[in-house]
């Protein structure tokens, strides 16, 4: 047993941590930031989807929307509990921000965080009706599958494990959206809405992958919190889009 290795070397070599007691200070900050970004995005996504339940065109789609609202909130709660292990006040955290708050549709945030929370910028834009919500759900769902696959390899094992449990249910949310597409595309009017929504959401979802050559990525990789650079994940998503939406002539 080589007992002389430091924790940072251990992490750089692919080691994993399970306890807040072992976590170096800088690692702690970056890990909490990653977890907060996940929690805030899920809470904001859940709150945003709640507003479209009443636009759902059928009982089945209404149930699908409710399920997405319910499960995304539940996913947020799981990771928030892990933040609580580090001292976060989880009760206050849930209410410290208006998760349903949105900016105007035409706002342009790029990849920047905005306001007092860490949600991905895409969750600051409002949904406009059912077709728009379906498109956003599919585009962002395909993105988050790739992003969660990445976080599921993070060196903080309790977080990685939670994400690996969450990921299949998130993928199911995307499938609900993909399933709703053919009906929307069969009608000329809703097809035009879908096409406009794809044009609207595509660059905004792309921005959630962050900048190419990110300096933070280098730090996160050294800590084992990330593995593959932003641009590589973005390229995976572009390929997914072509595969899933190409057959419909949407990309």
């Amino acid at each position: 047993m080589s007992g002389s290795m430091g924790i940072e070397d251990y992490l750089a070599a692919g080691g994993q941590l399970t306890s807040p007691a072992n976590v170096p200070p800088r690692y702690r900050g970056e890990l909490l930031r990653l977890m907060a970004s996940f929690v805030d995005s899920e809470l904001a996504a859940s709150a945003g989807f709640a507003t479209v339940i009443n636009t759902a065109p059928s009982t089945e789609s209404r149930i699908a929307a409710c399920r997405i609202v319910l499960e995304k909130a539940e996913h947020a709660g799981r990771v928030l509990a892990l933040m609580g292990d580090f001292g976060a006040d989880t009760k206050r955290y849930e209410t410290h921000h208006d998760w349903a708050a949105r900016l105007p549709r035409e706002a342009d945030l790029g990849a920047a965080r905005w306001g007092g929370d860490m949600r991905l910028s895409v969750f600051h834009y409002p949904l406009e009706g059912w077709a728009d919500a379906v498109v956003m759900n599919v585009l962002m769902g395909l993105a988050s599958a790739i992003q969660l696959d990445e976080l599921g390899r993070a060196s903080y094992a309790p977080f990685a494990e939670a994400i690996r449990e969450i990921a299949p249910r998130e993928r199911a949310h995307t499938r609900l959206g993909v399933k709703a597409l053919p009906e929307l595309l069969a009608d000329a009017k809703t097809r035009r809405e879908v096409e406009a929504s794809v044009r609207y959401w595509r660059p905004r979802v792309a921005a959630t992958f962050g900048h190419a050559g990110s300096a933070r990525f280098a730090l996160l990789r050294r800590f084992g919190l990330r593995q593959r650079p932003n641009e590589a994940l973005l390229a995976l998503w572009e390929a997914e889009l072509r595969e899933k939406l190409g057959p419909y002539g949407l990309v």
Partner: protein, 359 residues
């Protein structure tokens, strides 16, 4: 906020020359707080020489046994030395309710094969899981590879032998000793990659393992995890609990506030922000701007999330000067005493402050 409860030391048992097993008893009214899942740990608080110490120790008790932890003396470790030399029955330690996520499902009706690779005091949470698996899941099996320096440093040696004799068909135990010879060459020497490969070939069928528990110092964890993956044990079947050799030692005492508590000319304050070893100097209007916002405005990529004093992502340590926190819903008193602040809620009070995100 975490809460501490008094636990009476009801028994002490010397386990090896350097390790002691401590039996702890909560007050009757606190018992409800001290149920635990095997694999969890206690955070203990004790004041030694006027300084508050907090240390985490895994619970090693099995089902129905009183609350027990084992403390191995580490060189220069203030608390572990105290526990091994200064603690006596009748004394009181304070502890938070059990915490930790180094746990596995153990069910009566579901037979599982648990395997564990532990080293030194890394045995403690594994022992709790082992005892629970034997007691609660009558058709489950357990394979333990336990690495130590020599025979005399093996913790719980007798207890493990007794468990093996009681559960001969279900519990298989291998001691690997780095110093000193054993009859079987595989069991002598460091637990390195070739040895692990042999173990997976001869003793542990990777395909049969439902959960692999790894508990020890950094080097062993890396080697064992790599070997397990190479033998086809997927990530979600491996559980890690690092027993770091380089555990954080005693923090330097909190800095004294500098004498110049008044702000500089026109309410401006000087701040030095240290992040990733780089020092950034900036000035800010202390009443209006938090240290975090000033740092972010100066292009410092400081960590933060809620900006509401709730999540503690932006925690930093004041190394010089004095700051005031507007709100604090995340840091505990002992952290504040050590100089930690939530930078999103902190405003300088002295003319100059130095804050580090690296400590």
């Amino acid at each position: 906020m975490s809460r501490f409860y008094p636990l009476e030391v009801t028994a002490l048992r010397r386990e090896t020359r350097d390790a002691v097993v401590i039996t702890l008893s909560p007050r009757p009214e606190d018992r409800g707080h001290f149920g635990f899942v095997p694999g969890q740990y206690l955070t203990l608080r004790h004041v030694i020489d006027g300084e508050e110490m907090r240390r985490c120790y895994s619970i090693c008790s099995g089902p129905g046994e009183p609350l027990q932890i084992a403390v191995k003396r580490v060189a220069g470790g203030v608390f572990s030395t105290f526990a091994n030399e200064g603690l006596a029955p009748g004394m009181t330690l304070e502890a938070m309710p059990p915490e930790g996520r180094f746990t596995v499902p153990i069910e009566a009706e579901t037979p599982r094969h648990y395997a564990a690779i532990a080293a030194g005091s890394g045995i403690t949470p594994v022992l709790a899981i082992l005892k629970a698996a034997m007691a609660r899941s009558p058709r489950s099996a357990f394979t333990l590879v336990y690495a130590n320096r020599e025979l005399s440093t093996i913790m719980f040696r007798e207890e493990l032998e007794a468990l093996k004799n009681t559960h001969l068909e279900r519990f298989s135990l291998l001691h690997v000793l780095s110093a000193g010879h054993q009859e079987i060459p595989l069991l002598s020497g460091r637990l390195d990659e070739p040895k692990l490969t042999e173990l997976f070939r001869l003793w542990i069928d990777p395909a049969s393992v439902d959960f692999l528990l790894l508990c020890g110092p950094e080097g062993l964890m890396l080697t064992a995890a790599a070997s397990a993956r190479a033998h086809g044990i997927e990530e979600n079947r491996i559980k890690f609990e690092l027993f770091a050799s380089g555990r954080p030692g005693r923090l330097r005492p909190a800095p004294k506030p500098s004498t110049g508590v008044s702000a500089g000319r026109s309410g401006m304050h000087e701040a030095e922000i240290i992040l990733d070893g780089v020092s950034h100097r900036l000035t800010l209007r202390g009443e209006e701007t938090s240290l975090l916002d000033a740092a972010l405005a100066a292009g410092v990529d400081a960590p933060y999330a809620c900006k509401a004093g709730v999540c503690s992502t932006c925690r930093g340590r004041v190394l010089e000067g004095e700051v005031e926190m507007v709100a604090n819903h995340a840091l505990e008193d002992y952290e504040v005493r050590q100089g930690y602040v939530l930078t999103c809620q902190s405003h300088p009070r002295s003319a100059r402050v130095v804050v580090s995100y690296d400590q």
